[in-house]
Amino acid sequence: MACRLSCSYPWRSRECTVSTNPHESPQPVLRTGPERTRLAEVIAMSEKYETHVKSILAECPDADPEAVSAAFAKYETEFFIPPQDAMRSILRRFKGETTPTPSSGSSGSSGASGGSSAPKPTRKVSRLSELKGDDREIEIEVEIISHNIRNQTIRGEEKQIAFGLLEDNPWEENGEKTRWEFKDWGPNSNITPGSVVRIEGASVNEYQGKMSLNINQSTRIAVIREGTRPIVAPGEPQDISTLPSDGYVCIVGRILATRPDQIHRKDGSGSIEVIRGRLADETGTIGFLSWEPLAHEVGTLLKIEGAQVRTFRDTPELNFGRTTKVEVYHDKNFADVEALSEQTMVTLSELRDGAKDVDAIVQITEWAKRTFTKDGEERFLWSGQIADPTGRCRMSAWNELPITEDQLPLTVRLKGVRVRAWQGIPDITVDDADQVEILDAPPWDSELDLKNHTVEVALHELSTGASRVGISTSALVVSVREDSGFILRCTECRRVLREGVCADHGPNDGNSDVRLRLAIDNGLSSVSVLTNKEATLSLLGMTESELQGAIDDVGQVAFVQSLRGKMLGRKMNASGRSIVDEQGAMLLADGASMIEEDAGLRATEIRAQWRVS
């Protein structure tokens, strides 16, 4: 017989599941207390495992029944492995390592039905031109060019049908593209104009030589890229809170603020007069920039069609240009300026980089005047720490505020301030002293020590929210990276050296530092955690020299493996500051501790909560 390529796959199909016997209702067994004598235990054990021991002896006639029984007891008491699950391991041990493990008689998994339930094979094509008039179950990636919905009566039933144009070759910017019409009988809600989707299981329709694509209810639509191309929205206004981060929109909103401004051309060829301001409806507020004159006053209700949303830093902004239609709108029931203004009040946890016209009530916990020199001129900047019950951040002011250090902590109302991020953490900038109003007392519990206040944040909120200071979170450790332990930091910029080299400052001796690089997870979100030296040593319960000794003893790899033995799959609490960007969330921890849990207690709670008995 000719040679067959014989590489073994690690794969396994569901039809070959070797499963245990289905759980039979456990017979009620008297629970025996720890007072049993050792002897009674041994006798009970050998009786208890009688059938299991017999099974093993049938395979290994030379094995010592007591040794087999003791092995079952060990698996059960020390490792929580019931005898039916320990069978194969024990059989293996008594048979010796050379024999392959046979499957037990209990093979044949529940409900296995072979490969027939596998998904229908779809034919994948990249171009519409590859398709023939009678092709079925095809898969292709396309951009949706237009999308319309109409009502149609089918067999006496009113049904919505979507139709429009789609285009193949969606990823090549200037490539050759073919357009076809499509009909969506679903209709699928995730087909939107401008989006790129993968259509799985569509069929081709040919009518009088014209080809189109039919999308059925069973067709799967996977959105690969949300619609980002500017689409001129029809005249239906949208809520401010649901505006996209890009594209043309129509809104109805009241002017909360408006002021003339100038934008200087970068090439020095002059400046452009613009109007900046803020609009609000009952769902939220948004800043605007008008490149055209806009004479409407604060309080005017406007309908704006064809405004373009652009996102600067993390904050969307409306742009009004030549094609934008602005008209006064009449709606007696629309909320007034005062009611709408309350929405600009935010907590520190809600700050977003680039936000403007922000109102907040905060406590100033530190405040100092700083001096610096710019263009040979001495200048002043006032800055310090602020806090509210949701978090902490820094605040800077370009003008002196009527605040002295002995008044601290001091509660103030901030009006119309700006947010800028520094190292990922949003900070507040005050441009004028009249943006700050001193309050007699905080609107929250005045006993709260905000200076050292740590806010407990759920992992999912932390990973999807803004970067924050003064937070702590709990989750399971799912990774202890191999570079945990001692590291060298660049003497210039503190960046971690790679083989003695800094990416920016080249080779240098570096300063030694200690850190752990972890990932924590709650099944929903994953956050990477870097613990600083202090947190690392306190978590490990070691001094720096003890840590060095531990690593020298066993080597870096074995040291990290020992950390995994202590941490992997276990719950930890970490506190510090978070940095959230497109890559995900990172927690720079200055405190970390493992959380002990009682499995028996939790199991009992779960039974009660889920009524599993």
């Binding site: 690690p10 099974s55 046979p102 997870d521 929903l524 497109e582």
Partner: protein, 317 residues
């Protein structure tokens, strides 16, 4: 336009969360999803709608053996048992240094017959044959030995998460099979996509067996080992390859043949089943590969099977 390419999936995606999952739920999955971008994560989607890219699993390490692959590198294949079934995993040269070192240590322990409770964080892997059969397995990223207390904790977490998924699954049955319908039925965001495609793929399913798995796992977590224990019905049949005990070996050989025939029966969609698929399936059911190869030849020679084209086997009608 730089945002254009970024959203096409050329940037590294965020780290995928890890699901606590029982072997039964993972091994019964036959649905998968892979995005088009280079770094798009790949998922195995379970009957309960979990879109699994990464798992936290634990259990008794039951087997761990090295296999030489055709290109000369070493691949360690293992299986790990929890109260609901078995996980299959492999550690190859692609694994991290620490994972490979741990694997070598574990092989020694297994060879010495030492019980090992393992917890691993692993990536889900799947492979689809030309016949459409889905093979799933795990690739551990990091692992460690744990004691019975940590195993019990893992069991409780996994039971709780599985119960939560079973609830979402049950709630989703009365919802419209659309995203909006799922939102209206208060299905959380991270379950919606998985439940929509799972329902479409798996159709009506029974989830009662998961309840039984959970009951047993909770018994173990509470230390009620008597309740979690089951007697065995009959001695395990032997599939002994080296023929040291006459009758048992003959029975075993017939069992291999029966298994091979039933695999081909199940997987044949008209063109036959290829050599590798037959063997992989047979090995995965606990039989020795060399023996399986031998028996496949025998079945072919004795006329039970025929090869319509080279390397593809069908049952002679």
């Amino acid at each position: 336009m730089e945002g254009f390419l970024m959203q096409a999936g050329t940037t590294r995606a965020k780290r995928q969360p890890a699901w606590h999952i029982l072997a039964s739920e993972f091994s019964e999955a036959t649905l998968n999803e892979k995005g088009s971008g280079e770094y798009d994560p790949s998922f195995v989607i379970t009957k309960l709608g979990a879109k699994v890219n990464r798992v936290v699993v634990a259990g008794l390490l039951e087997r761990l053996e090295v296999r030489e692959t055709s290109n000369g590198s070493s691949l360690y294949q293992g299986q790990m048992r929890d109260p609901s079934g078995v996980h299959y995993f492999s550690v190859g040269d692609y694994a991290s240094e620490s994972m490979r070192e741990l694997t070598l240590e574990l092989v020694k322990k297994i060879e010495a017959g030492e019980p090992v409770l393992l917890l691993m964080v692993a990536k889900s892997k799947w492979y689809q044959t030309d016949e459409g059969a889905i093979y799933t397995s795990l690739r551990p990223e990091e692992a460690c030995e744990i004691d019975a207390q940590q195993y019990a904790l893992w069991l409780t977490r996994t039971c709780e998460d599985t119960l939560q998924r079973m609830k979402h699954f049950t709630d989703s049955l009365s919802a419209e099979p659309t995203r909006e319908g799922m939102v209206a039925a208060e299905i959380p965001e991270h379950m919606i996509d998985g439940l929509l495609v799972a329902r479409n793929h798996y159709g009506d399913i029974e989830i009662e067996n998961y309840t039984l798995n959970i009951m047993q796992a909770l018994d173990i977590a509470e230390g009620r080992m008597e309740a979690a224990s089951q007697p065995v019905a009959a001695p395990a049949p032997s599939t002994d390859a080296d023929g040291e005990s006459g009758d048992a070996a003959a029975g075993g050989e017939n069992e291999v043949k029966d298994t091979i025939v039933s695999i081909i029966e199940q997987l044949d969609q008209g063109d036959g089943v290829d050599f590798e698929t037959v063997l992989t399936n047979t090995v995965a059911r606990g039989f020795d590969r060399t023996l399986a190869e031998e028996k496949l030849d025998e079945l072919s020679n004795e006329g039970t099977l025929h090869e319509p084209r080279f390397g593809w086997f069908r049952i002679v009608a």
